[in-house]
Symmetry: C2
Subunit: 263 residues, 2 copies
């Protein structure tokens, strides 16, 4: 990625998404600005889904909500149009992926509600600023993510088990990472597990269900955070008539700063 994209503001990145210039992953863009998972659902499903998120705030922290029919989320950015401002979307019909597109204007309806959900990019930035190395970033891979045996609270048709992201850390970095992420509850907060993966139903740490495998060294502890992919998995399992999500890695870049979400 060009350095210029890292140094741009959230709204500048959105403008380039809107113009069709940025159509891929947003990792590393607009450093310091909050990026979010996007879910767009018809009103009835959206009500259940919001209840699902509220009941499972560690994997699915709600950062922003649109009014019914409105493609704006003013709390995340004044010059923000949900229909055009992400690089890439996935449109789901009858429970299966229908198409990928960089503009969902043609799919917009008056009964849709957009839900923005916190993303681990925010706390990863805080960890890196603190000097904690993250292997998947060093190795230029996606973070390793796993389905667990931890059930989510159900709401309507939304349920399933929690998905977690794993980062291998030295003990002292793990302690520090717990301190830092505990102060960021709006972007997944403290880890939900560390150590033995089998205790949360992960049989093989080398075969993630999403993302890429990263090595866990002898002196490291695998540390597990609740992951926003939990919401995507719940939507997939619910086999909805209609849903739109961001394409993997192609997030909503907002005007909010990660620093605002540290208490």
């Amino acid at each position: 990625m060009e350095n210029s994209l890292r140094e741009q503001s959230g709204v500048a990145v959105r403008h380039q998404c809107r113009a069709g210039v940025i159509i891929g992953a947003t990792s590393g863009m607009a450093a310091g600005y909050v990026q979010a998972n996007l879910v767009v659902l018809p009103q009835a499903d959206a009500q259940d889904f919001v209840r699902f998120c509220v009941s499972n705030p560690k994997p699915c922290p709600i950062l922003g909500l649109s009014e019914k029919g409105s493609p704006r989320i003013p709390s995340l950015g004044s010059d923000l149009d949900i229909r055009t401002d992400l690089p890439r979307y996935q449109v789901w019909k009858n429970g299966v992926l229908s198409e990928e597109t960089s503009d969902i204007t043609a799919f917009w309806r008056e009964d849709l509600i957009a839900i923005a959900i916190g993303c681990s990019f925010s706390f990863e930035e805080a960890l890196l600023v603190d000097g904690i190395p993250l292997r998947h970033i060093t190795e230029r891979r996606n973070v390793a993510m796993f389905k667990t045996s931890i059930p989510c609270q159900m709401a309507g048709r939304f349920g399933g088990n929690m998905v977690v992201s794993m980062r291998p850390l030295l003990a002292q970095d793990a302690i520090r990472a717990i301190q830092i992420t505990s102060r960021m509850p709006a972007v997944h907060g403290a880890p939900i597990h560390m150590g033995n993966p089998a205790l949360i139903g992960i049989s093989n740490i080398n075969t993630p269900d999403y993302g890429d495998a990263v090595s866990v060294l002898n002196d490291e502890i695998p540390v597990f955070w609740a992951c926003g992919v939990t919401s995507q998995a719940a939507i997939l399992e619910a086999k909805l008539d209609f849903a739109i999500t961001h394409a993997p890695g192609a997030m909503l870049v907002t005007d909010r700063k990660n620093a605002e979400f540290t208490h």
Copy 2:
């Protein structure tokens, strides 16, 4: 221990120490009140020792200091006499234990300074209140403590390696314990290690250097906190002409509340 002692105030416990009624361990007495390690040294050594504590705040957090020659530490209690208000003391001469006594009035000198150092009783209470079980308490043993390979910052003749206390915890309790103790820096704060004991120079988790062994179950992580015994070990290694400390477990009970030390 009688329930009445648990429910008494710090000053009430001190009065009974002063009267010679309480002469043993103070664990569980005056619930909610801060207990402290005590070190009494001649001025020159005290200056170095205070510098040692300030340089090593995780094992040796200073809670109170007397003026030279004064047996009072008003910040820890108005009706407090260091010479009589602990159940039991150890008097050290020429680097070896000279005697144990329940009153050091006969040893008091105009050049002595008393230093009170934070103790893990404070954060253990916070963990128990949060519902985190502590095995050494359940099993009515002393906490397991170990010499580590982690060097302290030296000051004058005071140095040596850090001593840690170990508590086996389930992962979710360990995460919560890190959150809770991070907010209590004046009483050792966050753990300094967790997981593999060998990484901090502990070769056998079943043979502590101080206190009692406790079992670490398969689904538990050993969590290590810096321990005030570090200061006692440093004094022993310094082979001082003269020093007074509390006898093991027979702490200074203060008027301060543990809750005051949570930020």
